[in-house]
Amino acid sequence: MRKLVILLVLISVFTLLLAEKVEIVFWHNMSNPVDKKSIEESVQKFNETHPNIHVKVVLVPGSETEITKLMTAVAAGTGPDVYYLDRFTVAQRAYQGVLECIEDYLVQLGVDVEALKQKFFKFAIEEATYNGKLYALPWDTDVRVLYYNKKLFREAGLDPDKPPVTIEELDEYAEKLTKMKGNRIEQLGFIPWFGQGWHYTWGWAFGGKFYDPKTQKLVFAEDPKIIESFKWQKKYADKYGMKNIGAFASAYSGANLNPFLAGKLAMVVDGNWFLAQIRTFAPKDFEYGIAPIPYPPYGEANSTWAGGWSLVIPKGAKHPKEAAEFILYMATEGQIKYAIDTAHLPTYKAGVPELIKKDPMQKHFAELLPTAHCRPVIPVGALLWDKLTEARDYILYGQKTVEQALKDAEEEVQKELDKALGK
């Protein structure tokens, strides 16, 4: 009889414990096995150390500005508790009412928010803020550099230890490194918009300015340096033909089939995370060098920009407080582990020395961080990105002049920006 009582008590205690366990759902899109594993291990550790919370990880496709699944789920009230969001879009999503204000929940948890902010890089906190309040905690960051293939440099009679510094040199090298067979591209020296050669990358390298925070006006369409950066890109489109470039690129549409890694593209601008891919997927005898992004005489030396992801609580999360607790853990301890495991640059300052200790080569990248640009922190950041990308395509395919394409994009985004700012 006593045994039975004890058993009953035990059962009720367990059911009580189980019933109190809160499950929070975490959506992320890091399908890369290395990144995914690190995140999963951190989640597991969190689950072990926080017996009252169980985090369930779900891999959900998404990208920089594409958050279809989240939007539909939030609208239907079936969204996750934690979402992995591109940080430069935090302000826009907060403005659209898709996010919960994480700062409120951090305060509820007794966190000193001001002290917490100090532990992250300033630009990352700025990107995570909307209307003066935190809507996200920053996750990783990145920088962009020029990668070049030393073997192809030698074959073309170039010094493998002298990467191009100026745009002029870049053009000259690109010419020498390109092999054509009729109209067919056998090997390409360089294509500005491959990899991470975005509008922002070149706009800043050319010394241009996209947005003026004082007047809250977009200024890229009137900036001669930005206009020049697009005109320079267009030269490549004209020289090789978009058709031929498209055909060349379409052979490498798979994730692990990168033309640079295949030794068919001699130079490319890509992110620091590309290093991990080179190490994993490139042939053993692959010889590469890393250099700053080339720039014109009036441009900016060592130019780069930093992006990265963040963790947010979507609107309608069932357990926002527990979600905030999990995000806090991930953004701090989880991020240090992530930096070590995946070579992604952390926004959590304590992670930087740990990363460099593990991988001294990362020092080159970490050194660029203090002067790195970050994209305009505006409530229409995602729209601006999309419109700039659209404008670039119009220009490259010769459907609009540089001036016209930029003007159209600027007008459209400015209109939305004014609306968002309540002007």
Partner: protein
């Protein structure tokens, strides 16, 4: 209505009630709601704001709207007739009195059940300018094949060609229609000394016209809503040359979360579809024949 009738009506009504409820919730309500949303600015997470005809006005100034509409009409103009010819041709082959015809039928129909994603991915490689099978074959004839999906001018046509992969469905319907034609008609024609072409032209074609009507309506509607192939194969590129109407609608609805605008687009597509359907039915009286019915 007598009492009995009323009682029967009530019973019958109860029986169809589950369907009615589903129809009302999942079909009627969304249609009505989208009509309302098309006059609002609606970003899903915030309540809609009434803007009147603003969305429609914006649409007609939107270059991508016009472009995607033109692309879609191009798709329809290619997909519907080419699909008809291919489907009918296959059907004619599949009714031949061969011993192993069942096997051929299976083989011809088989590709139709391959999911769009799979054959679109295969298609990308099939039509690859340098490494693809198609240009490889063409090279034997000394033809320097086009760039297919990488070329703005060829990309849409490439997708139309690839879509014929799914012609088995049409072939199946035509096959059934052809097999329904009474044999004695052909026997009589042979006695009268008709050629094969005459028999096809005067007997087969008129008597499968109900199937053609069905095909034209469903294929036109499907073509106007083409989405999966261009979305997977090109994402709308190069230079928006393969961007279809529904792809652009989808972008507004789910990428930009511009539901008001997307709803307005949906309604315009509905009107276009309704117009084509009306046109087909209107002319069908002149060319559709039902065997045994008096004309």
């Amino acid at each position: 209505m007598t009492r009995m009738q009323r009682k029967n009506f009530r019973k019958g009504f109860l029986f169809i009630l589950p369907w009615l409820v589903g129809f009302a919730i999942f079909t009627v309500y969304p249609i009505v709601a989208s009509f309302y949303f098309s006059f609002t600015e609606y970003h899903v997470t915030k309540p809609p704001v009434w803007v009147g005809l603003e969305n429609y006005r914006k649409l007609f100034k939107d270059v991508l709207f016009t472009k995607s509409l033109a692309n879609t009409l191009y798709y329809a103009a290619g997909l519907v007739p080419i699909g008809l010819v291919v489907g009918l041709f296959l059907a004619l082959l599949l009714v031949q009195p061969l011993k192993e015809i069942v096997l051929y039928r299976g083989v011809i129909y088989f590709p139709s059940i391959v999911p769009a994603y799979a054959f679109a991915t295969v298609g990308i490689w099939f039509f690859h300018p340098y490494l693809g099978f198609v240009n490889y074959i063409l090279s034997f004839f000394g033809i320097d094949g086009p760039m297919w999906l990488s070329d703005e001018k060829w990309a849409k046509f490439t997708i139309i060609l690839l879509a014929q992969w799914g012609a088995g469905g049409t072939a199946l319907i035509y096959m059934a229609a052809i097999k329904d034609i009474p044999k004695e008609l052909y026997e009589a024609a042979i006695l009268d000394g008709a050629t094969r072409w005459q028999m096809f032209r005067k007997i087969t074609l008129p008597l499968i016209s109900p199937a053609t009507l069905y095909y034209l309506v469903t294929a036109t509607l499907a073509a106007l809503q083409i989405f999966d192939l261009p979305q997977i194969m090109t994402g709308g590129g190069p230079a928006n040359s393969t961007l279809s109407y529904v792809m652009y609608l989808y972008r507004h609805a789910f990428s930009y979360v511009n539901m008001g605008y997307a709803s307005a687009m949906a309604w315009i597509l509905f009107l276009i579809s309704a117009f084509f359907t009306f046109l087909i039915f209107k002319t069908s009286r002149r060319w559709v024949f039902y065997y045994g019915s008096k004309r």
